[in-house]
């Protein structure tokens, strides 16, 4: 099957004054049409940087190299103008913070219809019709009234629905959801996840789902990438990740999740902390926190090794 998005050797470096810091490197993955790919990792591991790199939304001081193949084009080699037709149209983004990612001074209707008018070249009245339809689809009550309201008049969950409606507006082939439920409380989280799942299923939309929450991954994703310190450390389908994790970091993450079946339980933690970007070790980036680490781990960086056809891990002992 031809993949929808194929990321090859993606590397992002940030230039500050004269220092160049590598934030992510050797990022390789692909998403098939209709598939939901989860990207998991703790804060600062480069998940969001990856998503912003795909959308070309990084600051000007970021250098992005590698290849991001979307359908038949390399996003990184498109001109600004060419890419504008993709952004918000074929690929769209759901942000983490619904409270701040909507324009506070534009009415809801205007914000949702904006990409519709721009990309689908709809007339104003058609765009309004489409917007109301979208508001209905994301489960907003009284869509005709909400159309004329401002973001500050809505709750966080409602706003995230608006953001999702905006992302769906042009029927994109890929939605990048960057921690879409992190800022919401648990009951709203479940509703939003259900909504995203419904969209993916009904429209055949692929989702790149970024989260730090393994519970959400289990709920949402077909395949999972685990990131650590700017690299992919493990990739497998969701079942395998939970049943047979290979990388010690993934195992650590899983054992730090609460388990309903055990009665008294002290949650495991992973000792130590993530190395700073400007002082990355020469060997395995996880070695200093890893119980299995041997000499080789500190001296030579492991590759992402295939354990079997679609399970890879960046560990000598996988």
């Amino acid at each position: 099957m031809n993949s929808l998005l194929k990321v090859e050797d993606l590397k992002v470096q940030i230039k500050k004054n004269k220092d160049v810091t590598t934030i992510i490197k050797d990022i390789n993955f692909s998403i098939n049409p209709g598939e939901t790919l989860g990207v998991v990792g703790e804060s600062g591991c480069g998940k969001s940087i990856t998503s912003l790199a795909i959308m070309r939304l990084l600051d000007k001081n970021a250098q992005v190299t590698g290849k991001i193949q979307f359908e038949s084009h390399d996003i990184l080699r498109m001109t600004q103008k060419e890419f504008r037709h993709v952004r918000g149209n074929h690929i769209s983004l759901i942000f983490q913070e619904p409270m701040t990612s909507l324009n506070p001074l534009h009415k809801i209707g205007k914000q949702i219809s904006e990409p519709v008018i721009r990309h689908l070249k709809m007339s104003k009245s058609d765009a309004k019709e489409r917007t109301i339809e979208l508001l209905n689809a994301v489960g907003i009550p009284r869509p005709n009234e909400i159309y004329n309201e401002y973001p500050y008049q809505l709750s966080g969950g409602m706003r995230q629905r608006i953001v999702i409606a905006m992302a769906m507006a042009c029927n994109p082939r890929l939605i990048i959801a960057d921690e879409p439920t992190t800022a919401l409380d648990v009951t709203i989280q479940a509703q939003i996840l259900k909504l995203l799942k419904k969209i993916a299923k009904e429209n055949g939309t692929s989702i790149l789902f970024i989260t730090h929450d393994l519970g959400v991954v289990a709920e949402m994703c077909d395949r999972v990438i685990v990131m650590y310190a700017g690299q992919i450390v493990e990739e497998a389908d969701v079942r395998t990740i939970f049943k047979q994790p290979k990388h010690p970091y993934t195992k650590g993450l899983l054992s730090s999740m609460p388990n309903m079946e055990k009665e008294y339980e002290v949650l495991d933690t992973i000792e130590g902390s993530v190395p700073m970007f400007n002082e990355m070790p020469t060997g395995c980036r996880y070695a200093s926190r890893c119980k299995l680490a041997q000499d080789i781990c500190f001296n030579r960086e492991p590759d992402l090794i295939k354990a079997n056809s679609d399970h890879k891990a960046r560990c000598y002992f996988a």
Partner: protein
């Protein structure tokens, strides 16, 4: 909105009363007896006494104040001691001149400042930004009479062009009026634009870092739409605040610039009044300007509500 405006208008009443007391006291507590100044050094004590009685200055202060207020309410700002003309119609005439000058100055100032401020913010910390910031710093630092004099000098010496001296009304002869107004308006416009430009830059840099700007880009909007369509309105509140203060200040008459270009505006009128201890003119003039200032502030507050629906009073 209507209710809010009404509420604000009512709240003006105590402010106006306060202003009237302060204005009255300042004039009357200033040393120097108006009658003796008006009549000159050789005046007889009888003549001074007679003038004081005519002007009502022999009554107790409190009575004088209430007399004044009662007249104000009747729309009578008194008559000029110097010219015997009624103060209010003259004030209004002079104010209209100042108003035209202000309007033109603000127009020039904003047309220069807003685009340059935006450019400065978008190109923040680049060479362009650096140069623009130096220029705006100069604009703030150089006093307006220096800029005005420089403009006059350059135009007259190198181009042999002098602005007309005799004032004409804009409605009678727009071209000549524009010739008179253009230099002082450019002078004040430059001064205004420096402040507005700095505020626009700061406000835009803050706005452009907001999440919703990233959202606007993620929707596939071209950069121009992102900056003007999504950024401008969100950056306007501080700009309007500074702009409103500047307008209020200018409507009070830019005395030095009016003097320099011999524009018969309200600033010049009041300054003359002060020279000649023409206290009805000064009293009425200062009160009038204060009212204008308060009124401009009210308009600015209303514009806030219109820009940002979240602002409720």
């Amino acid at each position: 909105m209507g209710k809010y405006i009404l509420k604000r208008l009512f709240s003006l009443i105590p402010i106006i009363i306060g202003i009237s007391i302060i204005v009255f006291l300042i004039i009357h507590l200033v040393p120097g007896d108006p009658a003796s100044i008006i009549l000159g050094n050789n005046a007889t004590p009888e003549a001074i006494k007679a003038l004081n009685a005519k002007l009502g200055l022999d009554k107790p202060l409190i009575v004088q104040y209430f007399d004044w207020v009662v007249h104000l309410i009747q729309g009578n700002f008194g008559t000029s001691v110097q010219t015997d003309q009624s103060v209010l119609p003259t004030l209004i005439n002079k104010f209209l001149v100042t108003f035209q000058l202000t309007l033109l100055s603000v127009l020039i100032g904003w047309i220069i400042a807003i685009p340059l401020g935006i450019l400065s913010a978008v190109k923040a910390n680049s060479v362009v930004d650096f140069i623009l910031r130096i220029i705006s710093m100069l604009g703030i630092s150089i006093p307006n009479f220096a800029i005005g004099t420089l403009l006059l000098l350059i135009l007259s010496v190198y181009f042999g062009w002098y602005p007309p001296i005799d004032y004409v009304n804009f409605w009678d002869d727009p071209i000549s009026a524009l010739k008179i107004f253009i230099l002082p308006a450019i002078t004040m416009g430059i001064v205004l634009s420096a402040g507005i430009m700095r505020m626009t830059r700061t406000s835009f840099i803050e706005t452009l870092n907001k999440d919703f700007i990233r959202t606007a880009r993620a929707k596939g909007n071209p950069e121009g739409t992102v900056i003007v369509g999504h950024g401008l309105r969100n950056s306007m509140i501080p700009i309007i605040t500074i702009g409103g203060m500047q307008i209020g200040y200018l409507l009070g008459g830019a005395v030095i610039v009016e003097q320099l270009f011999s524009i018969p505006g309200i600033g010049q009128y009041i300054l003359n009044g002060i020279y000649h201890r023409d206290f009805p003119v000064v009293q009425g003039g200062v009160l009038f300007i204060s009212l204008i200032f308060v009124f401009v502030n009210l308009i600015v507050d209303i514009i806030y509500c219109w820009i940002d629906p979240r602002i409720k009073y």
